[in-house]
Symmetry: C2
Amino acid sequence: MDAVFKALADESRRALLDHLFKSNGQTLSQLCEHLDMTRQAVTKHLLLLEQAKLVTIVWSGREKLHYLNPVPLQEIYNRWISKYERHRLQALSDLKKGLEQNKNKKE
Amino acid sequence: MDAVFKALADESRRALLDHLFKSNGQTLSQLCEHLDMTRQAVTKHLLLLEQAKLVTIVWSGREKLHYLNPVPLQEIYNRWISKYERHRLQALSDLKKGLEQNKNKKE
DNA sequence: TTGACATGCAACCAAAAGGTTGCATATTGT
DNA sequence: ACAATATGCAACCTTTTGGTTGCATGTCAA
């Protein structure tokens, strides 16, 4: 789970996911064309995405094909976001209450 | 959006959000009790959470109260996760197809 | 078979991140 | 008034991160 959050923390890696979203199964060279950095840098980013299981690699001869795996994103939603979503209104009302109490103290 | 992903990338910061989830509106000192690091380190983490608008600060005298703001998490879901969720089955079938084509090449 | 293409490996570098220590400032309670 | 409490500011340090360069390896196509 930590690996997924870390992988998503970088703009270049999110861009890579977006490119795969538009066209799944691209080779390393193809993915490099979009990014303004060396192939080796892209390789490192893709390695992190792979370790987070956000991207799956399939070798085809000398070419390395990259496929999106949406499962970890789903898990982030299930174990993290939906939990907070359920308490969304409560959290906002807590904040409102806190603000008002502070206001009263000042007056 | 980048700030939110960066803020969520660290385990300590996710722990802070979890503590606020359990008990909203805690002071800095209270939040420090849970973490195994100095107050200054916790302050820095909370600053990042604040900049990402995941936490809102309310001053009450000399005490700094911290409140959860679930809105950015909701936005991550809306603009990021749900997008991939919609193409979840497609992505998996792309991968399956890729694997099979590779298998055929080998045989 | 040989040159071009696709990728890997490793050393290296600068900047950012995570954390500490020391001291300063503002608020509270007695 | 003053001591204790709650927090801020800034310099510093180490590790991680994002990126580069140079060279090696494996595969394809003429």
